[in-house]
């Protein structure tokens, strides 16, 4: 087996005062210690570093990719788009930051759009009034629990209710932090309140 020079730094020389030479392992060394199965399980080596060879490789790749895209089924495309949405939601929920564009209705609209459905058709599929659906999408009202449960069922549990609830929860937390009037407008309904703070 010829040693591929690109992934391996043959010898890294330190200053003489350090009196040591670190030898990054060559592919031959790796092969002596591990079987090809073990290497493939745990290592990926870089492709050609030479710009011309790399350009040639990527050009060939694009041809293959073009053919694959032309032959990709509609179902496969749909699955990919829904997985993209699911992973974006998962990551958004995990992130500390809040993005005001990522409200419940935005993700719901994305779900409907990726399915290539009209709002009215989708409302019919989950037995919800189209006006109510439209108001949720446009942030004029919050979704009810029943809609969230129906979203889980409609998506065959690929977008579980808990995921939708978490989007709503993140949205509500942001609103509460930035709009004091949400709480204050209920002030007149509270007849009694504690007269001390726990941490002062």
């Amino acid at each position: 087996m010829k040693i591929n020079s690109s992934p391996v730094r043959p010898i890294i020389k330190f200053r003489s005062s350090e009196r040591k030479i670190v030898d990054m392992k060559s592919y031959k060394d790796i092969e002596k210690k591990h079987s090809p199965e073990e290497i493939a399980e745990s290592l990926v080596f870089p492709g050609p570093k030479d710009p011309d060879k790399r350009a040639e490789m990527l050009s060939a790749f694009r041809e293959i990719r073009k053919q694959q895209k032309e032959n990709q089924s509609e179902e496969s495309k749909l699955i990919s788009q829904l997985l993209q949405l699911k992973f974006l939601i998962e990551d958004y929920l995990k992130a500390d930051s809040f993005n005001k564009d990522f409200y419940f209705g935005y993700f719901l609209k994305e779900y409907i759009t990726r399915l290539e459905k009209k709002n009215k058709q989708f409302a019919n599929e989950i037995d919800v009034d189209p006006t109510e659906l439209s108001q949720i999408i446009n942030q004029h009202r919050k979704p009810t629990e029943k809609i969230i449960y129906r979203l889980e069922i409609h998506s065959n549990r690929n977008f579980p209710a808990i995921m939708w609830f978490k989007i709503l929860e993140k949205e509500r937390a942001y609103e509460l932090l930035h709009d004091k009037s949400i709480v204050n407008k209920e002030k007149n309904h509270v007849k009694q309140q504690l007269h001390f703070s726990l941490l002062t």
Partner: protein
């Protein structure tokens, strides 16, 4: 796009029990750590990849790095894929005497997830060594596409949507482990 961490499970080979781990972007401090612990990552010179998109896998309860992966995001419409440029599992976790399993699989599955997330429809590729042509397909389901270029025989290992989904299910779905 904000980079976030991903929780995964790796397996302790001695007990078979699952351990919580995290995949997250490398920091400049991590590269210094890797440079100092060359006995654990002795196959590649990772300092050359400082400016690139590099992820590490570590156990959730400590900072010891167990695996590294460099990705290239080919955003142009024609390529439209994630390339795994480099991947290395720490020395003590390669081969029959490895202490922890699933590290490489979790990293490759993470690349698949990123491919979906970034709109590449799960397309992930890598350039294989000739002697490993049969083993990436066997281990991770890659499809080998042979190519004859002017310079040498070669080719790619490619995962498309079905293969990428399968890896995500096997390595990233908690319910499957």
């Amino acid at each position: 796009m904000e980079l976030v961490t991903l929780n995964v499970n790796i397996k302790e080979t001695s007990t078979g029990s699952l351990l919580e781990a995290v995949i997250e972007p490398m920091t400049p401090a991590d590269f210094k750590v890797i440079k100092k612990s060359r006995e654990k990552f002795d196959k590649f010179d990772w300092s050359q990849y400082r400016q690139k998109e590099v992820y590490k896998l570590r156990r959730r309860d400590n900072d010891i790095i167990l695996g590294l992966m460099c990705l290239i995001d080919h955003t142009d419409d024609a390529t439209d894929a994630i390339e795994i440029e480099l991947l290395e599992v720490s020395s003590e976790n390669i081969g029959q005497r490895k202490q922890l399993d699933l590290i490489g699989g979790c990293l490759i599955a993470f690349a698949c997830r990123e491919s979906f997330k970034r709109g590449h429809r799960g397309c992930v590729f890598l350039v294989p060594k000739t002697s490993l042509l049969n083993h990436y397909p066997a281990r991770y389901g890659f499809e080998y596409i042979p190519l004859k270029t002017h310079n040498r025989p070669g080719g790619f290992m490619i995962l498309y949507e079905p293969g990428a989904r399968k890896l995500i299910k096997v390595y990233l779905d908690e319910n499957q482990q």
